[in-house]
């Protein structure tokens, strides 16, 4: 809502309060003023001029040579390019020395050999938007009414010596979609009076009800429909002050009748519609739901197909308006109109919203109906419009109205105790303070003991419950005046859950290990949604996606991380390590919420380590990735419960991928991207893992307990084993640790040899075995006994023999 500071002064005395101060006060008490526009900012030296002579420019077809009286003695010669400039016009002249928006300075000039001493201006040149300039002046200069005084300030005449406050209204404050509503608000803030506009007029003796009968089929949708009749109107421009006020509010002037309905819309917040009575073709107005498939041409000349969800105004048979949204071309006011049927109605917000949405027709009118107009202001708005039509369109207003009224208007009566107000706000107000606030708002009150009962005026439809009253008190008392305290009462221990704590541990560990945390989108494409998914389930599709790329909830994080690698790789970052923790979404059937499972994924590519001046370069490999995982599981106390098994995963290298198992259950995978996938993304060798973080962090772990540091020495035996190439070290390790227990404390691989010194199909794996007894020093014989058992088991279970 745009509020003209000058216009507002008609309703509230703003003496001593500048527009900027007013904006600050309004903002602090509840309605955000998003900006204050000074309309004549950067403009000076523009006066009213009289075009005394207009001739064709001798050297240019499209230019006029004008002699313009600007009230400074002899007329001055001005060359003008506007097609509509004509002798006898009163126009806006930027004199030599004037400044126009954009710091455009007017100087003496010669145009095609002819002297020009100034510029005749269009409204756009004076800083107004083209879309609000009256159509007849949109392509040329603006012409003042003939009575404009030569030499006076043109901007003043155009009401540009004004400031406009832009209100950002929240949905509950639809009352401020009108100048009167703003006036009540400002009056309450300043503690001043509201002056209501004039409506008193002498009607002629003919009765409106004799001209038209109102019938309403859809009473729920249209509980009040009032028609005023105005005869003998003369269509023409509305007064300049009205046009300029409309323009300051962002509305383009058309003609006096249409401008008056728009003016009332702004003044009262009540949308009105003017029909050309003679074009209605009947003496009846019937308000009904449209028929499915019914066609109707709105006044923008677009044919609309209606449905029974839409409310129409008809002449008994044909629609003449889409209620609350737009009139019909068939009954539009034209320059020939003489009799006006003026509609003032209360339409249900939901039905207007449906129509405006279905037809993409959001207008100033529909916006007000949607948010709810003041039911008590409908008739007053009609009266005021009729008064203005009599005054500025030469009309004669018929007595009374034609009406269909089933609207019951009951103002909200709400009570609240002073104790509750103070308890909710943390204040120490007295009943007198509270009464005074409601008096400023012009809400009626009565007080009994500790309780104040408030009757809210119908313009404030947002007041319904006691909390609404508390809010009114708070905002007018001022939030600045409310004290600052902290909650008292039983204290709560602030903490992270175990899961949240461990998640932070994992993140901090990964970052310490060299990975950057990424955050990507949950919505992805059909193609990517299920790539690398640990568990295949139906994908979850949005009902109305904005694009195919963001239409499905992800089943895995990796495809998004690979996009991150690709993006960075294309920007000269080909060595990169990133991870992400986030939910993936597993469908649980159409009507149930999906299962959301937190995953952890990481991707590393390019060089893992490089130290250029020493010539060190180490590309990422499987064991870099596995080392990262092992460190993480160590941090979480899960080292001994995690195993890796060679596996085949779609999109992954068939020989360099492992499934990760926790307590024997699959929780994820790790490995190299399939070379064809790498190539598709234009990446170097890339290693990735994705696992269920929920499973990892959810694993119960034992409390940390100290183990005594061994006091006796250990004995180490190294063995080199020859096995089949397919035999994995993990199998041998398991045999060793199972057979060697309890004296065997540790077994580690320290060499792998697959070279040509080995028999074909064989390899050598060397282990270091550490034996120890925490209670005593072991003898060689004891160790040998166990060690031989280990060797025997290796041979028996894995065909492993000592390398000769």
């Amino acid at each position: 809502m745009f509020v003209s500071y000058k216009w507002l002064q008609e309703y509230v005395d703003l003496t001593g309060v500048s527009a900027a101060e007013l904006a600050e006060k309004i903002t602090k008490s509840g309605i955000e003023v998003e900006g204050v526009e000074v309309l004549n900012e950067g403009i000076k030296g523009v006066v009213v001029g009289h075009v005394v002579v207009r001739e064709q420019h001798p050297n240019a077809d499209k230019l006029s040579r004008c002699q313009v009286d600007i009230g400074e003695g002899e007329p001055v010669q001005i060359i003008c390019g506007a097609p509509n400039v004509a002798q006898g016009q009163k126009v806006a002249v930027a004199k030599v020395g004037a400044v126009l928006p954009g710091n455009f300075k007017i100087k003496k000039a010669k145009l095609r050999g002819e002297e020009s001493n100034g510029m005749i201006c269009s409204l756009q040149e004076l800083g107004m938007e083209g879309k609000i300039v009256p159509k007849e002046y949109a392509e040329g200069i603006f012409v003042f009414p003939a009575d404009a005084e030569v030499g006076t300030d043109a901007l003043e005449l155009l009401n540009r010596d004004d400031e406009v406050l832009e209100l950002g209204l929240t949905p509950n404050r639809a009352d401020c979609l009108s100048m009167l509503g703003v006036a009540y608000e400002v009056a309450a803030i300043l503690g001043r009076e509201v002056k209501l506009p004039d409506t008193a007029l002498e009607p002629i003796s003919e009765k409106a009800a004799d001209y038209v009968e109102i019938n309403v089929d859809a009473k729920e949708d249209s509980p009040l429909y009032v028609a005023k009749m105005i005869k003998n109107v003369k269509i023409g421009p509305s007064p300049l002050w009205m046009q300029t006020r409309l323009m300051s509010a962002g509305i383009r002037p058309h003609n006096n009748v249409v401008d008056i309905t728009n003016y009332i819309l702004l003044e009262y917040g009540q949308p009105l519609h003017a029909f050309d009575y003679d074009r209605l073709g009947s003496k009846e107005i019937l308000v009904r739901r449209a028929n499915d498939g019914e066609k109707f041409v709105t006044l923008d000349d677009v044919e609309r197909t209606l449905s029974s969800d839409h409310l129409v105004i008809t002449n008994g048979t044909e629609p003449v308006a889409l209620a609350g949204v737009m009139g019909g071309a068939n009954s539009e006011v034209t320059s020939d109109t003489t009799t006006v049927l003026l509609e003032a109605a209360y339409f249900n917000g939901a039905i207007v919203r449906k129509a405006s949405k279905d037809h993409g027709l959001r207008s100033e009118a529909s916006a007000r109906f949607e948010k709810g107009v003041d039911p008590n202001r409908v008739r007053a708005a009609g009266e005021r419009a009729a008064y203005l039509m009599a005054k500025y369109a030469g009309g004669e207003v018929l007595e009374g109205e034609a009406v269909a009224d089933t609207l019951t208007v009951e103002p909200a009566v709400v009570s609240v105790t002073l104790e509750k107000i103070n308890r909710v706000l943390g204040t120490d107000l007295t009943m007198k303070d509270v009464e005074e606030i409601f008096a400023r708002l012009q809400f009626e009150t009565s007080v009994e003991d500790d309780t104040i009962t408030v009757t809210a005026p119908t313009r404030r439809g947002d007041i319904k419950i006691e909390e609404d009253l508390i809010e009114e008190v708070a905002r007018l008392y001022g939030y600045d005046n409310i004290p600052k305290t902290l909650p008292i009462g039983s204290s709560t221990p602030g903490k992270l859950s175990e899961y949240q704590k461990k998640r932070r541990v994992v993140r901090a560990y990964l970052e310490g290990a060299g990975l950057y945390q990424a955050v990507t989108y949950s919505l992805t494409s059909e193609e990517k949604a299920a790539q690398f998914a640990l568990e295949k389930r139906d994908t979850i599709h949005l009902a109305m996606p904005m694009s195919e790329d963001r239409s499905i909830l992800r089943l895995s994080i990796l495809p998004q991380l690979l996009e991150v690698l690709k993006y960075n790789n294309a920007r000269q970052n080909d060595s990169l390590a990133v991870y992400e923790t986030g939910n993936i979404f597993l469908a649980n059937g159409k009507d149930a919420l999906p299962e959301e499972r937190e995953h952890l994924a990481a991707a590393i590519t390019g060089l893992w380590h490089s130290h250029s001046w020493q010539g060190e370069k180490k590309p990422v490999d499987f064991f870099v990735l596995k080392g990262i995982l092992e460190g993480m599981f160590a941090k979480l106390g899960l080292t001994e419960r995690v195993t890796y098994v060679q596996a085949q995963v779609d999109g992954m290298h068939p020989g360099r991928t492992a499934e990760i198992l926790l307590d024997g259950e699959k929780i994820g995978f790790a490995g190299q991207l399939h070379p064809s996938v790498q190539k598709g993304l234009d990446l170097k060798d890339t290693y990735v893992f994705e696992l269920s973080l929920k499973a990892v962090l959810g694993a119960e772990t034992e409390a940390l307990k100290y183990q005594a540091i061994p006091r006796y020495p250990s004995i180490t035996r190294d063995i080199a084993l020859v096995v089949n190439r397919e035999t994995v070290s993990g199998t041998l390790w398991e045999i060793i640790t199972n057979t060697g227990a309890p004296l065997l404390k540790e077994a580690t691989v320290f060499d792998l040899y697959e070279g040509d010194k080995m028999e074909a199909g064989k390899k050598s794996l060397a282990f270091s075995l550490k034996y120890m007894d925490p209670e005593r020093t072991l003898t060689d014989e004891e160790v040998t006994k166990v060690h031989n058992r280990v060797l025997a088991a290796l041979e028996e279970q894995a065909g492993a023999v000592l390398r000769g």
């Binding site: 943390g426 419950i465 902290l486 993140r507 290990a513 990507t520 960075n568 390590a577």
Partner: protein, 345 residues
């Protein structure tokens, strides 16, 4: 004989002084002090001397020996020290060359902001509550006083999956779920961070996915003044002790009264600049007293219990705090962007 000994002493000392290496020095030691050396030689002729002269000559011979030996030792120390210095000099390196890089990554800036806020509120007795990102219409809207048909819940603004299921548009449903879980009993003090989704085209200031953090306190005597005090603690810790806050009335369906909180602009100190659109204030978050309908729907007696809630956008806070100018940076994950947030503050 006496002269010979003095001569030898002088000769040896001269040689010691001229020697340049430990080997040379050792040769001198063997030559002069060895069993076959000239001093021994001289002493061998002592038999010819008288009984009076013998001890005098013996003492002199020892004196000469000791003088030479002392000189040799001194010279040896000198040479050894020089050798050490020479070795150290040869070992010197260019300390200005870059070190071997230790791999480090860091938190995403949004996580950084969220954890900072979490920790701040944990310190004030809050717990962190999380909830589903795919929500029932009931928790996302209805339980928050946004009944069906309410203009603020347009299909156009949300990502629906079915008529009853959608991607949450705010983290407020976590509040509704938490209250329901508490079965009408207080106190509750929670912070709810998480991802939310809205039908917006991604541009410099909009993102179809973004983060939100909400807070909720429910108890028997929770007041607007408590909200104001809590938000001031938050604002000062997050943005600096010199910042002022102000509350402005606003409107949200789930709170009544509703407010928005501004902080004084850091750029201009509240005098007005482009960052704060010449108002001196920057909007940070929305808040209010929990609407009685919301309390009642979650099973609380709104006569007995009151509460406050607040919600804010980590992206906006990060943009203000770090001067980030485009919200899409947070989701593009350009490493040149990410690595700028390595510094712990």
């Amino acid at each position: 004989m006496q002269e010979r000994l003095r001569e030898l002493q002088q000769e040896a000392i001269q040689k010691v002084e001229q020697s340049a290496s430990l080997k040379e020095l050792n040769d001198i030691r063997v030559a002069y002090l060895g069993k076959k050396g000239p001093i021994t030689e001289v002493l061998r002729g002592m038999g010819k001397l008288s009984a009076e002269e013998r001890p005098v000559m013996g003492a002199l011979a020892n004196e000469v020996r000791e003088a030479i030996a002392a000189k040799i030792e001194a010279k040896q120390n000198e040479l050894e020290e020089a050798a050490v210095l020479e070795k150290l000099a040869s070992e010197s390196i260019d300390v200005t060359l870059p070190g071997r890089p230790t791999k480090v990554g860091n938190q995403h800036p949004l996580t950084k902001i969220i954890e900072e806020i979490e920790d701040l509120f944990i310190g004030m007795g809050y717990e962190i509550a999380e909830g589903p990102e795919v929500e029932q219409d009931y928790y996302n809207f209805e339980a928050l006083n946004l009944p069906k048909g309410h203009p603020a819940r347009d299909m156009q603004d949300s990502f629906y999956i079915t008529e009853e299921i959608l991607l949450r548009t705010h983290t407020s449903p976590v509040q509704a779920r938490t209250m329901e879980k508490h079965q009408g009993k207080g106190p509750i003090k929670i912070i709810c961070p998480g991802k939310v989704y809205r039908r917006d085209n991604d541009d410099a200031t909009h993102s179809h996915q973004f983060m939100q953090i909400e807070g909720l306190v429910v108890g028997e005597n929770i007041r607007m003044s408590d909200l104001k005090g809590t938000l001031e603690v938050f604002a000062k810790k997050m943005f600096g002790q010199d910042r002022e806050i102000r509350l402005r009335p606003s409107f949200f369906p789930f709170t009544e009264p509703s407010v928005e909180m501004d902080i004084s602009c850091k750029m201009c100190g509240g005098h007005g600049c482009n960052v704060c659109k010449h108002t001196g204030w920057i909007e940070i978050l929305g808040a209010g007293i929990v609407h009685p309908n919301v309390l009642e729907m979650a099973g609380y007696d709104s006569k007995k219990y009151t509460g406050f809630a607040f919600g804010m956008g980590p992206e906006r806070i990060a943009m203000l705090k770090y001067g980030v100018d485009d919200i899409r940076h947070f989701y593009t994950n350009d490493v040149r962007f990410l690595k700028q947030f390595a510094v712990e503050e």
